[in-house]
């Protein structure tokens, strides 16, 4: 019946520290809320149409949520940048910015293993791989553009100093109409990103069996002993 007993030792690796996990989920929540409310602001649906104006304020609330979460996502991100300097090695800023040859090699290796799949079995990488790092780095820039366009739009309806710091972007984009247009288009980048991100988490979990999905909840990943040694 059974062949020889084979033991494969695994180790728990504490990858995502609590602040990183909190950042991740706050960010995820903000992105979802911002996408939904933002889409509604662009395309309000004819709901509650039977009421009179004095009975409701739903569109106002949708906008309120959008503005609130824009602050949350921004300052959450500011915190994450800080954590990129004080956090553990998996959270460090240099995991997002390829600046060493070995990182470029990792990048190419990931592309070979996971994208074009000329390689079946890739080297084990703890934390996120370099391709993921680079795509987050791109995401950060789109996020920056989204922040600029969003607060630039917001600046005309706010008396607070903060959104006004972004008012310069309006003439740069050629008026509010274009700022709005780009803000809307960038939203789709986040939609696409989210789809790919979730898929790849499932993909890695399925092929590698290291607990990728749960790692962002508990913080732990599971690595084979020999993978750790052969790094």
């Amino acid at each position: 019946m059974a062949a020889e007993i084979q033991t494969i030792p695994y180790r728990r690796v504490y990858v995502w520290e609590l602040p990183v996990r909190i950042y991740h989920w706050l960010n995820a929540l903000s992105i979802v809320v911002l996408i939904i409310t933002g889409y509604l602001i662009g395309n309000p649906q004819a709901i509650f149409n039977a009421n009179e104006a004095y009975q409701q304020y739903w569109f106002g609330w949708v906008r309120f949520l959008h503005f609130t979460f824009s602050y949350i996502i921004l300052f959450n991100f500011v915190f994450r940048i800080y954590w990129g300097f004080v956090g553990n090695r998996y959270a460090r800023w240099d995991r997002f910015v390829p600046h060493r040859w070995s990182q470029l090699r990792d990048l190419w290796e990931t592309i070979k293993t996971d994208i074009i799949q000329t390689k079946v079995h890739g080297r084990s990488i703890i934390g996120h791989n370099m391709l993921a790092g680079v795509s987050y780095f791109v995401l950060f820039h789109i996020f920056l553009l989204q922040t600029i366009t969003g607060f630039a739009l917001y600046s005309s309806m706010s008396n607070s100093f903060f959104p006004r710091l972004f008012a310069w972007a309006v003439p740069l984009f050629g008026g509010d109409a274009w700022v709005r247009q780009w803000h809307h288009l960038f939203m789709w980048f986040f939609v696409v990103f989210t789809i790919v991100h979730v898929y790849l988490v499932f993909y890695h979990d399925y092929f590698e069996g290291k607990g990728t999905t749960s790692s962002i909840i508990g913080g732990w990943k599971f690595e084979r002993d020999d993978d750790i040694k052969n790094r």
Binding site: A53, G175, Q181, H184
Partner: protein, 390 residues
């Protein structure tokens, strides 16, 4: 050499206005310039002592709707600033002189009032070809530059002079250029197609009164009239916040006067005073008469997308594609790519999957006998279905 320029009061008296008329004019000017009533004395004093400034009004590529709007200013005395009180020394549309005489009229005004005259420009400058808009053998650019050199203040009337308007709409065949890009002097941009008459008179009054330019925003527009969006003071705004929108031009919501946002109203992206000052003597404005704002005072409004649709077309993606079309396409392509990737991954990595399964251990259920003893068995190719190969 130059006749003594009368003060504004003297000029009005010469036209037969009484002191009462003069004071009424001062009151209106005070309001137009956005001063408090306590500023009235200051205004009266200014108009009694200040010489009326000469004005040169140039027309380039435009439709004269700015002039039309201006002469319909509802405060007739304020409108008279230009036609009676100011000395309108040169304007093609209303000029009595013709030909060389008219040219001389302009040149004299410029020469004799260096640093004193106000230059009002209507229309954009066709840089594409000198021949377009050429007057008396001088290109539009040349005329503008000559006139601007000695002007005390330069005002760009309307969207043509401020941002290029319809002539500058893609593909801009004449290379229509707003005047601020041609002269290197501060320009007061007064966009709108046309601008509101009261806004125009308000700005001229401001210059008359204070002898300097009103406060401008980053796009050169006077803050007092262009710092808020049409949307911010729109009387339909409560419907917007309540989420009550017109869905079709003839639906019940349209009859009830709900917000026109979904009909493409550009109020939320347009900076102008329409919903406060309104038009035709405070009578109405586009939204009040049931039509959305088309954003005529915004830069490049002809190319900012369809008037009846909220999101504009994206350049390079065809006329009908909005950000949403692009986004949905991208999302669909991504989903397709993912499906393909999942499929090929399973095929290409089937060995890996098998290997992983081989490594899987079957943990036997804990029975009473083996309570303390760990029983671990490895089954080749085993999975929970028990499709064991051995």
């Amino acid at each position: 050499m130059e006749k003594n320029i009368p003060t504004i009061r003297q000029a009005m008296e010469a036209k037969g206005y009484s002191r009462r008329d003069f004071l009424l004019f001062c009151g209106l000017a005070t309001a137009a310039a956005g001063l408090e009533l306590s500023g009235l004395a200051q205004v009266v004093q200014a108009f009694e002592t200040k010489a009326r400034p000469p004005v040169v009004w140039l027309h380039f590529q435009e439709c004269t709707c700015c002039s039309e709007s201006f002469i319909r200013s509802t405060h007739p005395i304020v409108a008279d600033i230009i036609f009676d009180t100011l000395s309108l020394d040169y304007t093609e549309t209303l000029l009595a002189a013709a030909g060389a005489q008219a040219e001389k009229c302009r040149d004299d005004t410029i020469k004799n009032n260096q640093g004193k005259y106000i230059l009002l420009v209507e229309g954009s400058i066709p840089l594409g070809n000198e021949g377009y808009c050429m007057i008396g053998g001088k290109s539009a650019e040349q005329i503008l530059k000559e006139a601007a050199a000695g002007a005390a203040a330069v005002i760009a009337w309307g969207s043509c002079a401020s941002t290029g308007c319809v002539q500058a709409a893609s593909p801009n065949p004449t290379t229509a250029t707003p005047i601020k890009k041609i002269i290197n002097k501060p320009v007061i941009n007064v966009p709108g197609c046309p601008p509101i008459a009261e806004v125009m008179t308000g700005i001229v009054t401001h210059i008359l009164l204070f002898g300097k330019m009103p406060e401008l925003d980053s796009q050169g527009r006077p803050k007092e009239f262009y710092s808020r969006r049409v949307h911010d003071t729109c009387y339909r705004r409560p419907y917007y916040d309540a989420g009550l929108f017109v869905e079709a031009w003839d639906d019940e919501a349209a009859r009830k006067g709900y917000c026109l946002y979904k009909m493409g109203c550009k109020g939320p992206t347009t900076y102008n005073a329409c919903s406060v000052t309104k038009w035709n003597g405070n009578l109405s404005y586009p939204i009040q008469s049931g039509h959305g704002c088309i954003g005529c005072s915004e830069a490049g409004f002809w190319d900012n997308g369809p008037f009846y649709q909220h999101l504009g077309a994206f350049p390079g993606f065809g006329i009908e594609s909005t950000a949403d079309t692009i986004g949905v396409t991208a999302a669909a392509v991504t989903a397709g790519g993912i499906a393909l990737h999942a499929l090929t991954s399973n095929l290409r990595k089937r060995k890996l999957i098998e290997k992983n399964k081989e490594e899987s251990v079957v943990v036997a259920p804990i029975s009473e006998e083996t309570d303390k003893k760990e029983v671990v068995e490895t089954e080749k190719g085993g999975d929970e279905d028990g499709k064991s190969s051995s």
